[in-house]
């Protein structure tokens, strides 16, 4: 199987405290691209699957740390972390602090 055919399942933490009784995980299927970053994946989900998903980003070059989140349980800067760093595994994307969620992957930062 060529790499272009490989798909990865991305599970994303979703929670709107103003509406939802509790968090849930939504799954999206994304083609594997080893150079794609976590931030790139999230933008792709917003564009192709679910425009209501929210996350933080600012500098996009690893300076500001606003896009900090957890991928497979590990804290990462979403803008700097390429897919290849996780092998070809499925990914679980969660907010950095689940007790400080404003919505989805957006947390209180102060």
């Amino acid at each position: 199987m060529s790499e272009e055919d490989l798909n990865i399942t991305i599970k994303v933490f979703r929670f709107d405290p103003s509406m939802d009784p509790k968090p849930r995980y939504d799954s999206f299927t994304i083609p594997y691209d080893e150079e794609e970053t976590i931030l790139g994946i999230l933008k792709r989900i917003v564009r192709d699957h679910d425009p209501s998903l929210v996350f933080r980003e600012s500098c996009r070059i690893g300076n500001c740390s606003l896009c900090s989140m957890k991928v497979n349980g590990k804290g990462v800067l979403a803008c700097r972390k390429p897919m290849k760093d996780f092998g070809k595994m499925d990914l679980v994307i969660e907010p950095l602090h689940q007790d400080k969620v404003i919505r989805d992957l957006v947390c209180l930062m102060e």
Binding site: S18, G62, R80
Partner: protein
Amino acid sequence: MSIEQIADKVIEKDVLVIGTEAAGGIAAIAASPSVDVLMVTKGVMGKSGVTIMAVATYSAPFADGDTPEATFRDMIIGGRFLNDQHLAEIFSREAAETVTELERYGVRWAKEKGRYLALAMPGHTYARGCYTLPIGTTGRQITRALVKEASHRNVQLLNDTFVTDILVKDGRAVGVTAIDLRSGEMLVIKAKCTILATGGGMEVYKGNCGAREATGDGYSMAYRLGLPLRDMEFVQYYPTVMIWPKRLFGQQTVTRLRYELNAQLLNFYGERFMTRYSPVHMEKSTRDIVARAIQMEVKEGRGTEHGGAYMDVSYLPRKVVDAAIARLYPGYDFGGVKMLEEGIDIREEPFEVAPGAHFFMGGIVADEWGEVGLPGLLACGEVVGGVHGANRLGGNALPEMSVFGMRAGRRAVEIARREKGFTEPEPAQVREIRDRRYAIFSRERGIRPREVREEIQQVMWDNLLALRDEGTIQNALRQIENIRCDKLPRLFLSDQTRNYNLEWLEALEAEAMLDVAEMIGRAALVRQESRGAHFRFDFPVEDNEHWLVNLIVRQEKDRMKIDRRPALLTKVGLDADDKNQRVND
């Protein structure tokens, strides 16, 4: 109906600062604790905005023989004589003291035997570029120091708060309306003095090394109040940011290899193309010349695979590169990017770079205290135009934020103290803003805000980059007009929640971006010459006979109007010109 019945929350503060990074943070610190100060940002202080991206230097005249006068002269020559010379002179005089002030807040400048170390930067006749270690951390250190200092001084802070409109009553700014992005609630913030420190508008370009937040909200707010803006056609491009691999897109620190390690620029065919554009200074030419050269190569089909040029130090002996890097970027760490760990060995291979929209020279017309012609409103930092004229020299951004941030902060204290109490905004104005800003929630279908944002960015990238001509500019203006009339009224939200609704923020920002895009386009169309960062294919020469003028953009009867105003060469005249900096060097 009272304000309290229309807004969800009403706040009163002596001084309100919109924007929390270098300009806004310093203004707030300068005003506090003398008066009660509130800062608001649509992002998160210390983790948003463009200051943190300032990887390089902070110019101040400390070198032997250097003077404020020499700094001033360099700025005017670099700015191609369009600067507000009064502002530039103040900048030159006060930049040095802001270095020591920031040191008091905790910035650790690189020093040797008690003297600030400084790097030589293009366009500066002396080495003025103060920096922090490791190299590439200047902006980060400043933002951290400001967060700490502001908190020491009890400056209050509201993150995730987007200011939508400035409230005016009886010819005076009396506060703002804002949206608390976390809840979607509408705030009215009454203030005796409001300071706009919202930064630049680089995000209107697809390829930019600004930040997500740099949508030019402040330009748009000022424009909608009928205030004049100047020099909006001059957008600076960082000449050489990394464009590949994708995860390193936008890295700027590598640019310094041009002057620190004699990096060469090569096109697709391996030709050192700067010989054709700037045979004397080559890769060390000022950033506008280098940016334009790369763009021209790409446009003429000689670009690299991902649309740029190769930057190369691998022609140097490995030993030379290792030794220089060990001193400049120990561990091959370029401001947090460890090149070797990223699989990029610059000793072995070139890498791809291209220009990115980097800084707005233009902005609101303001005086040396940030007064903009509307009592109760001040502006400072990148949102103000004039200091840098048609082009900014490297390292001159951060001192501008400090010098004029401090001044605006001090002036705000005077203004706040003069005012007896708070002025009640006009309820009808607040009602109208609320209806307009929340109207999007009643639309059930239409166009997604992100699509429009990306369309604006693409139009600007394709047509109003470093290379412009009448055709591309007209094309951009047509598309901007089309987006404004046809698409903006049809924006809708795919999710009705008011809780951190990012699409709503994007819709609000899109309106500002369109204003900014149109200002750049209209001014660029009028200026039929090439000067500084503005280059026109159809008018490739700097024309001092006709174009020593500033273009003033203003809203008049709902239309954008452009006036020509002769540039005032009050102190430094054309006779100071240094041919080495000429456009077609």
